[in-house]
Amino acid sequence: MPEITDTMATTIENPVSGIDQSSGNFKYDMTYDFDAGTGLNERTVDYISSVKKEAPWIRDFRQSALKQFFAKPLPTHWASKDLENINFDKIRYYLSQGLKPKRTWAEVPEDIKRTFERLGIPEQERKFLAGVEAQFDSEAAYSNIKEAVSKQGVIFMNSTEGLREHPEIFRKFFGKVIPTGDNKFSALNSAVFSGGSFIYVPPGVKVSHPLQAYFRINAENFGQFERTLIICDEGSELTYMEGCTAPKFSTATLHSAVVELVALKGAKIQYITVQNWSSNVFNLVTKRGLAHEEAEIKWIDCNIGSRLTMKYPGVVLKGRKSRGEVISIALANDGQHQDTGAKMIHAADETTSTVVSKSISVGQGRATYRGVVHIPRHLKGCKNNTECDALLISTNSRTDTYPAITVRGDRHAVQHEASVSKVSAEQIFYMQQRGLTEGQAMSLSVNGFINDLARQFPMEYSVELKRLIDLEMEGSVG
């Protein structure tokens, strides 16, 4: 733990130590846990910067972001009014690991334990995921991976470390793909971010194994305001996997991450996310990649759980012949709203983008697709292909599609296909007649619906995904 400086001690009250720090001139050298308290103001942001011993530029960056966060209204003119239920004053914006709220294994609800059991999550990980333990000790596995890739010159570390150790690379790309003021939540993240990954892949290096955030699953990484920055230099290739299908039971109700990808000329990045939030969580994430000439960025995004997820991974196709792809699966169960989609911003000739989105609404769940495809007049030879399919399970399930397609000029090809289907009673009867229970029949239908997309996931993820859908569907019938 970093030690606190004199100047800070006079300005910041620390609720943990029980010592009045404003009186006296203390110098702490003990191991120390940090807590920024609840609520958000300039001092909170300053506190985070001080704890992380950040350079002045990043401190200024945070402060300016905070101003933008305050200045921006909630986007409720187009997004869910449920956002108004977020109480920003009640949220803790920074907690170091030692201070994460803990509970005992006995306090973990039975159904959650059963879910872990069914998913085959190892004992140690279960405790972490349930919030019983603040840290999951996978350092060994992580170090091995890190060592293996560092031989190729790949930098793979926590973004806090990245900022400290590689400021020259970090600063060049940080906040460039997603400007602070992109939206209210990217501004919030920019003010209080902590954790997330920083990856740099040197020119021509093809990272053969997917890098996984899972290998360094810890409180910091699973923080509320992760910030990830990935840069693939010319001709390099990387696959990154984030999250896991195991449910995360967070006491924090707001998660707002920002992920920026930069693929330089001819580079390829594939970013895979599988998230399964507990149903009290607002998951408001901004993800965008910048593809230079002939580069390729592919987002594979799977959203399960949460109260409200808003996430529209995007690709800015900046270089000629660059390609962008978003593949997304969303499952909205009772009381959940998955508001997901994709943004494809064409900014060069002969750029190609593909969006395939499949959503499943169960019970009173609601799945929304929002898509942006933008092709300006001065370009030629751009292509977009969008397909969004929704599956409704119950009569009161809901799905909405809001595609915003702007194509100017006459030398482009754009295709938008959408379908809504319902699992029919006949289909379920047919499957039940073969001996499957109603729940099994439902999950088989749902798995069939997403099958062509699930096949693009790495093997272990698609197996987990199938199990997870089985579990979700089991609970939804009868």
Binding site: Y430, Q432, R434, G435, N447, G448, D452
Partner: protein, 217 residues
């Protein structure tokens, strides 16, 4: 056998437990025990198989995975199906029914021709080994070659451990599958029973004489 709209398919669906039907009178017994309180899937696991006249499509679910799930559903908790044994058996049955191996990776009934759908039903029947098979118009929509293959399949499965209720309009199929008994259904009732010669008689005289016989009785 019986004319259109007489209740043959309804009988089959009601026995299988289709949610659209409420049984107000009578009972369905297996080994002397009523199955009416049981769910469709429980009835299926007790050995009732319905070969559908119009089988549903299940997009994205391959025949192999579907049958595997159906067999898995018959196992007790913690028991896992043996994959290699399963495929060996599946391929055996497919060879028997002259079904191409590539068939297994296709989604259940999606884009199937009429003949393929019926063959897929027989394949499922062969794999699930029911005690009672209700075959609803299995001959409809089949050309003569497909009809022979389906009939061969049914004949192969025939035996002391399987009771088959074959629903059909026509005698045509009965040239390939020789029935032990023939029952004629009109307006929801079995009105006449006999052996295979009754089927031949119906073929030559139609159903009107049975109706007339009823009216005068």
């Amino acid at each position: 056998m019986g004319p259109n709209g007489t209740g043959k398919s309804t009988l089959a669906k009601a026995i299988a437990g289709h949610p659209d039907y409420v049984i107000t009178q009578g009972d369905v017994l297996i080994d002397g025990k009523s199955i009416l309180e049981k769910e469709t899937d429980e009835r299926a696991r007790e050995g009732i198989f319905l070969a559908f006249q119009y089988p549903s499509e299940i997009p994205g679910v391959s025949i192999a995975n579907f049958l595997r799930a159906a067999l898995q559903a018959r196992m007790s908790e913690g028991e896992e199906i043996d994959a290699s044994g399963y495929y060996k058996r599946l391929y055996q049955k497919m060879d028997l029914l002259k079904i191409d191996r590539k068939f297994t990776s296709r989604s259940v009934n999606e884009g199937f021709s009429g003949g393929e759908k019926k063959r897929s039903e027989i394949l499922q029947m062969a794999m699930l080994e029911p005690r009672f098979a209700l075959m609803d118009e299995t001959d409809s929509g089949l050309d003569i070659d497909a009809l022979k293959i389906v009939a061969d399949g049914v004949n192969h499965l025939r035996g002391p451990n399987l009771g088959i209720l074959l629903i059909t309009h026509y005698q045509r199929l009965l040239g390939y599958i020789v029935p032990d008994h023939v029952h004629v259904m009109i307006d929801g009732r079995i009105v006449k029973s006999g052996d295979k010669s009754l089927a031949l008689e119906l073929e030559s005289r139609g159903y009107d004489w049975v109706k007339q016989e009823l009216a005068t009785a």
